[in-house]
Symmetry: C2
Subunit: 249 residues, 2 copies
């Protein structure tokens, strides 16, 4: 097993960091790696915002649901779907590209582009001995986050990533069974088989929680998911996405 | 520079592969790495379909716009946003989760989850000396692709990835300037500055094409993008996404 695969398989989210900033060189390497990811038809439809200012990080931590590691870390990155530069270049080239910019297709492309770049940033960070955590909580108050970061139309802040020197080890949560996630030749729609796999997986998860909490917690994955998904969250997202000029047609 | 960062920075798309299948062990490692990626609140909202059957690959290559490397490679993976298993678990748990499943928020989550997993698969493959290419062209005929792969409601085939033993070296396309993609403390909306950066970038790109084509081609990036985005493509995507049960509210 090579070092890169070891790094990939060793991933776990880190939620407590030293209060020790990354160097400019570290930040540069992380961004260079992010930019090296594939991009759909060379469109490069994302931007990354780095935040160092203490007060701004504190405010973002608050908006993300009071997660202290959004404030205290080595660096805070915000990954954005971005078609703003394409609007600017259309102006330079005298082209009308509004239909493309507003299409569901290009929204998909921009979200995927941003996520591929982010995952490269995550792997680069981890390969340097740093820890990371994705922060979807940034979307709890996406309007306010957009204001704090001066985000214009044609840009959507998708998630943040905290990077820094880990202050704890954390355990790796078992993933869904290989056979459940990986389908051969076509999607396996066999409800009975899939549900049986989920029940089997539940046992793994219960054991994981029992061990980790010394017997206090024994959630199943299906139970956790059903509880979470029963309470729809961030139901303002459709309006926000459209207001930013995406996914309109 | 560690080996992982070297792998990340060395990425380039490969569009010609040996007709030599990956081993089951290689496929397993690639999927294990994909699954090790972060997932939003443990939701694991994606699936991966692997295709080996020659005839099916030929058909998918055709649907993706006659790209021969979709047919001839080591393995073909299709990455899907997937909330189908969540629908099944809701049934098992007696929960009503339709609002969540149909929300713009969960569509975003599923697309990001799938992309993070895919990028881990890409990096794992490249670290093993294999080449990869993302295939967005799969969306050219997304309805037919969904049929060929028996994809149910609550699942969207986002893109494919060909993996295999490279039959060529390819050059790395220069990315947008660091300062253009990476913003400090907030989004830099300064139109003049951003457009000046794009003009500077155009020179880099022109030089790149001139060198690569022995003087035959001298596109600019803004010219390329304006031409591409002037012709909206895959305008059926909004309808397809909604039909699959995503992004409805």
């Amino acid at each position: 097993m090579n070092e890169t695969i070891k790094t990939l398989l060793h991933h776990r989210s880190i939620r407590k960091f030293e209060d020790r900033p990354l160097t400019d060189q570290q930040i540069r390497t992380i961004i260079d790696c992010a930019q090296a990811a594939s991009t759909s038809s060379y469109i490069q439809a994302y931007s990354i915002i780095g935040v160092k200012e203490k007060e701004k990080k504190r405010r973002l931590a608050e908006l993300a649901g009071n997660q202290p590691y959004v404030e205290t870390n080595g660096h805070l990155f915000i990954f954005c779907a971005d078609l703003f530069r394409h609007e600017l270049l259309a102006e330079m080239e005298g082209a009308d590209i509004t239909a493309s910019l507003e299409s569901a297709e290009k929204y998909m492309v921009a979200v995927i582009d941003a996520a591929l770049a982010a995952q490269n940033a995550a792997i680069a960070s981890e390969s340097m001995g740093l820890g990371i955590c994705y922060i979807g909580g940034l979307r709890n108050n996406v309007e306010e986050v957009a204001q704090v970061l001066s985000i214009p139309k044609r840009v959507i802040p998708l998630f943040a990533m905290t990077v820094g020197y880990p202050l704890h080890e954390s355990s790796k949560k078992p993933r869904l069974p290989f056979e459940h996630v990986y389908h051969e030749e076509g999607y396996n729609e066999d409800k009975k088989e899939l549900q049986a796999q989920l029940l089997e997986y539940n046992k793994t998860i219960q054991e994981y929680y029992l061990q980790r909490t010394g017997g206090e917690r024994s959630d199943t994955w299906t139970g956790q998911m059903a509880a979470m998904l029963s309470k729809p969250t961030r139901m303002f997202m459709k309006e926000f996405v459209e207001k930013q000029g995406f996914q309109r047609r």
